[in-house]
């Protein structure tokens, strides 16, 4: 008996360790990490080293729990301001986007394979959700700073689209398993009613659960070591509770994380660190298990068509769905293109593809294998190219000056102070004689290895490392004081526009000088007000606004969100469509026809 324990532990730890080591490789080469995890699973599996693992219920169970842990952490780490910025586009992508992707993909699948309609849509639903972990790892490894809005949209989309895809998949599996061929109308009605019921219940349980977690953590004086375990268990309780009630457990656990993470919960930093680790472990386990579960020797039978489907998903289904969803939100073309490309599929898709096996569907194995290959295609094609693409599309924001280190401290009583550490940069305002406000006085200065207290250090000099203990309202102002401004170099001129305009000047002057085609009401605004109104009331560092032939760029905002610096560029970022132009037009025409709008005839076609 002992032997089995040792052996199983040996194998298990060896696999997890191999995965952990592979993360180093991934950081070095920018390879999609999850691909490596999956590869290790595959390599150890039945067709590789020969580990036999063919237990679909166990794989699904482990995967679901891991996903719940990941989603809780993902919600926990999403600040409310990110949510406010991107909730609408992201949720549209997660709902409409997932459904549209599933529909388009399902149609293609039906014609390319021998799957029935329902099975085709089932595969579509399984591969319809995106995997955030893959993307964010790549962005971090490639040192890519994305604009906040793009980043937030991707982040929230990937957190919220899993529950939707899961719901669609499971509903379809149930319908197919019942063996009746339902009328389309009944099916759609059932889907819609079921959707609102499941999501509503999930959301309610999740939000209540989130508040419950916060209350319990505040009330019970648990040991710091025990606390993270306690919270994790509670999150799984929320997950299971919502599911048992018939709601979406995945939505519930994500929302619970969101509520808890934004409630100034006690010991947030301890919790964050712990969950970060758990999230990693969950990722590794999920991919290893799924890799082990797959049987690559079955792949060749369905390889060709699955690769084609994978490419169809990447180049047509996802871009079209994203374009459709983001249309109302006025995202620039480059950002829409990027968001389309960052539709990486991951573990969730494979996990969902197990459900047909669980219900013993006839084509269950084929669906699973197909989904697996599609995920591989997506990880390889998109995973390798995310970084270069972001660079090509010009979406990378030059890193902002900021603290080099940030230590969040938990203090009993006054909860929210941070210890920030800056290196004083040559040419920064403090060195140019800017007076230090009282709240920005360093508690400690380390100069040439010696630490000094206020006011013993006298005047700050370049290279000093300052430690400031400050309330969390001020860091943006500190960045300004200690870290030098971004230099005006060629790259930045591309990014921020070659010229500057004064946001206080009337917009009518802009119209007179460049003729961007402003509306009557906008002529009475200042340029700053014009930008704010066009940007939807909230401006953000490096926001770009295309006005006819010119582009205005937010160079700077003050701490109240008012635009105080505006760049002007005459080269609006050239659109670089992921979908070829004629295809995009045709897709647009098709869409118009669906909505029964008159399609504009081209002059050439009439002749």
């Amino acid at each position: 008996m002992d032997h089995v324990i040792y052996l199983a532990t040996l194998v298990g730890t060896a696999l997890v360790l191999a995965a952990a080591f592979s993360s180093l490789i991934a950081f070095r080469f920018g390879a999609p990490l999850l691909l490596l995890f999956l590869g290790i699973g595959l390599a150890s599996g039945v067709d590789g080293l020969g580990l036999r693992f063919d237990n679909a219920p166990v794989a699904y169970f482990a995967g679901s729990l891991a996903l719940a842990v990941i989603l809780f952490d993902s919600g926990f780490g999403t600040p409310v301001n990110v949510l406010r910025q991107a909730a609408l586009p992201a949720v549209t992508l997660a709902t409409v986007g997932v459904t549209v992707t599933m529909a388009i993909f399902g149609v293609a699948t039906h014609y390319l394979t021998n799957f029935t309609w329902l099975e085709s849509f089932l595969l579509g639903a399984a591969v319809a959700s995106t995997d955030a972990a893959a993307v964010f790892f790549l962005l971090r490894a490639g040192n890519i700073h994305l604009r906040d809005r793009v980043r937030s949209t991707l982040e929230i989309e990937s957190g919220t689209n899993d529950p939707i895809a899961i719901f669609l998949t499971i509903t379809l599996v149930e319908v197919i398993a019942m063996g009746v061929d339902p009328e389309a109308k009944v099916l759609v009605t059932d889907l819609i009613v079921g959707f609102f019921l499941t999501m509503g219940l999930g959301a309610a349980v999740g939000i209540l659960g989130g508040f419950g977690i916060v209350r319990l953590v505040e009330r019970l004086n648990l040991d710091h070591g025990l606390l993270p375990i306690f919270v994790l268990t509670l999150s799984l309780l929320v997950f299971a509770g919502a599911g048992a009630l018939g709601g979406s457990g995945f939505l519930a656990v994500y929302l619970a994380g969101l509520v808890a993470g934004n409630s100034q919960i006690r010991a947030a930093s301890v919790l964050k660190r712990f969950q970060d680790g758990m999230s990693w472990l969950a990722q590794i386990i999920m991919f290893l298990v799924l890799g082990l579960f797959a049987t690559p020797s079955q792949f060749p039978a369905i390889l060709g068509v699955s690769v084609v489907l994978g490419l169809f998903l990447i180049f047509i289904a996802r871009p079209f769905a994203v374009w459709l969803c983001l249309k109302p939100f006025r995202f620039p073309k480059t950002e829409t293109a990027f968001i389309s490309w960052v539709g990486l599929r991951g573990a969730v898709s494979i996990l969902l593809a197990i459900t047909p096996l669980l219900s013993g569907l006839e084509h269950g194995r084929d669906i699973f294998n197909s989904a697996f290959i599609i995920v591989l295609v997506s990880l390889v094609v998109q995973g390798w190219t995310v970084g270069p693409l972001a660079r090509r599309l010009g979406l990378i924001v030059p890193p902002r000056p900021g603290p080099i280190e940030k230590v969040e401290l938990e203090l009993p009583g006054s909860a929210h102070h941070e210890l920030l550490s800056y290196r004083v940069v040559p040419g920064s305002p403090v060195l140019r004689g800017e007076r230090l406000p009282r709240w920005a006085r360093p508690s400690l200065v380390v100069r040439e290895g010696r630490s000094m207290k206020f006011p013993d250090f006298g005047r700050l000099v370049a290279g000093d490392r300052v430690y400031i203990f400050v309330s969390d309202r001020y860091p943006a102002l500190l960045d300004r004081l200690f870290a030098s401004r971004v230099d005006v170099d060629p790259e930045d001129a591309d990014f921020f526009g070659a010229f500057a305009v004064d946001p206080e000047r009337p917009a009518s002057e802009l119209e007179a000088a460049y003729g961007p085609g402003l509306a009557e009401a906008e002529m009475n605004m200042t340029i700053g007000e014009l930008m704010l109104s066009r940007l939807g009331g909230r401006a953000e560092y490096a926001d770009r606004l295309t006005l006819g032939p010119i582009e205005l760029i937010v160079r700077d905002i003050d701490e109240k969100g008012k635009i105080i610096g505006v760049g002007l560029s005459f080269e609006p970022t050239p659109p670089q469509p992921v979908i070829p132009e004629n295809l995009r037009e045709r897709a647009g025409a098709l869409f118009d026809r669906i909505l029964r709008r008159p399609v504009k005839e081209k002059a050439g076609e009439e002749a």
Binding site: V488, P490, A493, A498, F499, A500, V501, D502, R505, E509, L510, A512, A513, Y514, G515, P549, I550, V566, L568, S569, F570, E571
Partner: protein, 154 residues
Amino acid sequence: MDLSDLIEVQAIMPALKANSKKQLLQLLAERAASITGLPEREVFDTILQRERLGSTGVGNGIAIPHGKLAGVKRITGVFARLESPVEFEALDDQPVDLVFLLLAPEGAGADHLKALSRIARVLRDGDTVAKVRGTRDATAIHALLSDTQASHAA
């Protein structure tokens, strides 16, 4: 678009002396007026109006004042290399010693803006700028401005 389409050798002032931004703009307007045959006052007012919107000093000692004028027949450039830099309220607070003035007809639209970004691009090229600063010969400056790699690059 080549910069030589926008500017003639006569429009280059290779060793201009000016004491202030205002005087500099006046001298540029004067030269532009003599090339286009428009009243100097009108040219000056147009570019001054644009400066109110925000300085056209783009940094690194370079400024690109510009404006649209009904009477101009084609996009017209005037270039000045200053003997000593003047304060121009530029983006990086550095005084300016290379100035490209660009006037465009009222209906020029996109061409005007394309020309402006081309000029900005050419003058962002450190090599070209250093060479322009190092010479007092109008023909040489004209050649430098119209013959850079940057003016052909996208």
